[in-house]
Amino acid sequence: MNWTEKYRPKTISEVIGNELSKKRLVEWLNNWRFSKKLGALLIGPPGIGKTATVYALASDFGYHVIELNASDYRTANKIIEKVGFIAYENTLESYISGKTKKVLIFFDEIDGIDPKEDRGGLDAVIKISSKKAVPVIASANFIDPIKHKILLDNFEVIEFRKLTPKQIYIIIKRISELEKLDLDDDTLIEISRRSMGDARLAINILYTVHVGGDINVILNPFENMPIDVLLRRISSLSNQQEIKTLLDSNSNHWEDVLYIYFDIITRSPVIKPDRRANLLEHISILDMINGMIKRNRAYFLMKYFSAILSWIVYQSNRWGAVYDGRIPEYRLYTYVLNKDIRVELEELLNKYGNRLHESKRKFFFESLLVAVLSNPKYENLLNWTLKIYGLDDKLKVVKKYGVSND
């Protein structure tokens, strides 16, 4: 039997770590029927005991758990087919008369449900929870504040955090004692160091070592980190070489780091204007290099990308602009802020396109050209272009309706 299953905690007190989160969950479950929120949403990285906590809690309070995994049940029909009947059977009347079934619905990995692709999936979850017939708990690794807004608004959000190596040590020491393994303390400490706060990973490494695997070839703890962990780590480092090593081990996140640092530097209240300008200039260079790498497959430029990125992170940390823990910032930047600009542009193009009886696309390119060339610096070029393309009138139109040179 898999050790992660075999040594799954039976009671809430056996769950190691996340003491405050466990306490909040117990409080919520004790009062769930009268709570304003429809359910509890446990958010945290994998392998830290979210599912284990739910099962241990259910066992403590005498609930029977009905688990739905978002990878199997995604659409409204399937979810209602599976658990809808419970929501309708257990009414307030049956609760008062004491005939309710002690059932807890657990939606595991609810972030796997996409509000657009899996039509109605999240609405079905809310619908079932709003009946308040049985307690509903959901768990997620990463919640998108835009996609899963409905969950964040209606569920009590309880954050679970990664365990410390010492807490991991307790977990694997307990298993090692119960299994009577012949492993010394140094090995257990090394496993807890390498597991990066992931209890499931630590147990699996323990098993691998027990069956004869070599701990040194298992994994490098600094490779392929989640983006939030990587950001937190690089923003707490004060040595450029260390930052570069860490970034080199996580090259899949370079672009994310670039955009997030652009965001951090832009809105940091503590950084001085000249320093901000300096960093933004480097970011623009890096953006160009990134474009070249992608467009021309010029992978030899990656070493420059890594060096400049680590310099930006190092200087940014030194000058006080550090990552402040808002995970989806770059998403906000990409989807929300740009969306406003897009909507504004769309309105502008509709307005001018209608007035001039031209297509939006044609007007956009022509006005953009005129707007750029209206800069006094390009006066000769502008006259020449206007003459060639017969766009003299367009300049007057653009100036009349106020499109600035910017």
């Binding site: 003491e19 405050l20 117990v26 410390t164 020491k173 990066m196 962990v229 209240p269 823990g325």
Partner: protein, 122 residues
């Protein structure tokens, strides 16, 4: 440079006149201010950001987390796991408790006692 020791999740007063920096400090995610009590820091990374501001006034806040078993203060920076730990916790274990023989039993009994007390209180 002056060092001030604080515990996560517990209120404290900053030994400096903050002036305009007060706004910057309460904007940090994970730092709260309760009138009459003082600032509360929720996690390690909030403290890192807070220290970036306070260091300019010659003050560094040193974090302490509580040992679950013996309630002793533990300083994260002096811990042997500091290079691999995310430090995103309010409770941990001190070295004496960690390397004692019956650490698992001690941890579980503390946790059991804590939750039984808690269940009785609700």
């Amino acid at each position: 440079m002056e060092y001030q020791t604080i515990r996560y999740g517990e209120p404290f007063q900053i030994r400096r006149r903050l002036g305009n920096l007060f706004k910057d400090i309460v904007r940090i995610k994970g730092v709260e201010y309760e009138r009459g009590k003082g600032f509360i820091v929720r996690d390690y990374y909030a403290l890192t950001n807070l220290n970036k501001i306070l260091i300019r006034m010659g003050l560094i806040l040193t974090p302490m987390v509580k040992c679950v078993i013996c309630d002793k203060n533990i300083e994260c920076e002096k811990c042997s796991f500091t290079d691999v730990c995310l430090k995103d916790v309010t409770t941990c274990l001190c070295d004496e408790c960690l390397y004692s023989d019956d650490v698992v039993e001690k941890y579980l009994s503390t946790s059991r006692g804590y939750f039984e007390d808690f269940r009785r209180s609700i």
